[in-house]
Assembly symmetry: C2
Homo-oligomer: 230 residues x 2
C-alpha cells in the first residue's frame, strides 16, 4: 500500500511565515538566493501561492526589512550623550543590516513606514532633539545617516558576493585585492595621476570599519554647529 507521497501536512500559509523564511534565506545565503520560488519551495508549494499573502517581491522585501528592524534594541534617551547615542544606534543598525546580507538593497529608497522602523526613527530623532538640533535639520540629518549606513552595508554585501564568487575566504580575498590594487596604483604614470601614484598606500589602506567610522564621525560631529545647546 503506497502512501500519497509526501502529503504536505501544511495547512495554511501565513504572511509572517513567508517573511520569516525570507529572512532566514537572506541571512544564510544572501539576497541573491532569495526568490519567490525559493521561499515557495521552502514552504513546500509553488510560487503562485505566495501572492495571496504578499503583493509582490517588493512588498515582501519591505516586510522583511521592518521585521529586521525589530531586532534593534531601542536605547533609553540620555540627553548629554546624544551624539554618542546616535553613533551607537547607527553602528547597531549597520551591523544588523550587514548580518542580513543586504536588505539594504530594499531599504535604500523606501521611506521607513513600518512600525519597527518607525520606532528606530523616532528614537534617533529624539536624540537629535535632545542635542538641540532644529527639527528640520535633525530630520534631514537622520535621513542622511540612514542613507549612509545603508549604502555602506550595501557596498559590503556586494563585496561579500564577490568573495563568494571567487571561492576564497574573506581575509585572503581582501588582502589579495588590496595588494593588486596597490601594485596597480603604484605603476600608474605619475605625470597623469601624481597623487594616486604617490599615496597609493594611503588609498588602499584602512579597514572597512575604519572607513565606516570616519564617515559616521563626520556626519554626526558636524551637527555641532546646528546644536542650540551644544
Amino acid at each position: 500500500m503506497t502512501w500519497p507521497a509526501e502529503r504536505p501536512p501544511r495547512k495554511t500559509i501565513t504572511r509572517a511565515e513567508i517573511v520569516r523564511i525570507g529572512l532566514r534565506v537572506v541571512r544564510e545565503e544572501g539576497i541573491d538566493a532569495l526568490s519567490m520560488r525559493r521561499v515557495a519551495t521552502e514552504i513546500g508549494t509553488g510560487p503562485s501561492s505566495l501572492y495571496a499573502h504578499v503583493a509582490n517581491k517588493d512588498e515582501l522585501l519591505r516586510l522583511m526589512f521592518d521585521e529586521m528592524c525589530a531586532l534593534l534594541p531601542i536605547p533609553e534617551l540620555d540627553p548629554p550623550r546624544w551624539k554618542e547615542q546616535i553613533k551607537e544606534l547607527a553602528r547597531a543598525g549597520h551591523q544588523v543590516m550587514i548580518e542580513h546580507n543586504d536588505l539594504a538593497r530594499a531599504a535604500i529608497a523606501t521611506i521607513p513606514t513600518g512600525p519597527n522602523a518607525l520606532r528606530i526613527s523616532n528614537a534617533m530623532f529624539g536624540m537629535m532633539l535632545a542635542g538641540g538640533i532644529p527639527p528640520r535639520i535633525g530630520a534631514w540629518a537622520m535621513d542622511r545617516i540612514f542613507l549612509y549606513i545603508t549604502a555602506d552595508a550595501y557596498e559590503y554585501s556586494i563585496w561579500r558576493d564577490q568573495v563568494k564568487g571567487a571561492g576564497s575566504d574573506k581575509e585572503t580575498f581582501l588582502s589579495d585585492l588590496g595588494r593588486e590594487t596597490l601594485a596597480y596604483f603604484e605603476q600608474l604614470p605619475a605625470d597623469i595621476y601624481p597623487h594616486i601614484a604617490t599615496y597609493a598606500t594611503a588609498l588602499v589602506g584602512g579597514s572597512v570599519d575604519e572607513r565606516f567610522e570616519l564617515g559616521l564621525e563626520l556626519l554626526v560631529d558636524g551637527l555641532d554647529k546646528y546644536s542650540g545647546v551644544s
Copy 2:
C-alpha cells in the same frame, strides 16, 4: 529574385560601440531597460555576439561607468578654495550620475580603476592634500564622499523608477507621496512615536537637493578638524 532580407551591412562590432549604445539606453530609458539582449538588438544581432568583446554584463557596466566619468570636467586646482572645489566636484559627479539614471548601481562597490574615474579620484585627492588633510584621512574621506553621492543618486533613481511605474509625472508623484506620508505620520499614536507625530512636517519637508547638500556639507566641512593648514 529575392534579396536576402535585410542583410546587415555591419561588419564588425567594437567594444566602444557596445559601451556607447549601453550608455544611450541607460540615459534614455533607465538601467532596467539595459540588457545584453537590448544592446544586441540595437546593434542588429543576437546577444551572444557581445561576449566576444565583453566578458559579461558586469564588465559592460564597469566600462560604461568609466566612460561616463569622462564627461566630468576636471577643474584646475585652486588650493584656498579646496573645500568648495570638493563640493563642486561632488555635485557635478552626482549630477552626471543622476543623468545616467543609475550607473550608481554599478559604481557602488567597484574600486574605480578605469582611466577616467582615476582622473577624478586624483583631482579630488589633490584637493584634500591642498587642504592640508593627511593622506590617509583624505583617502578615506574621498571614499566616503563618493559612496555618499553614489548612494544618493541610487536612491534618486529608484524613486524615478517608481514615478515611471505610477504613471504620473515627477512633481505630482513626489507631492502626493509627501502628502500621504505627512498624513500617515500625523495620525500615528503619539505615545509610541511622540517625536515623529509632533514633527511630521519637518520629517517630510525639504527637497531632494536640500537633503543632498546637508549631507555633503557635513562630510566636507567636518574635514576642517583634520586640516593642518586651515
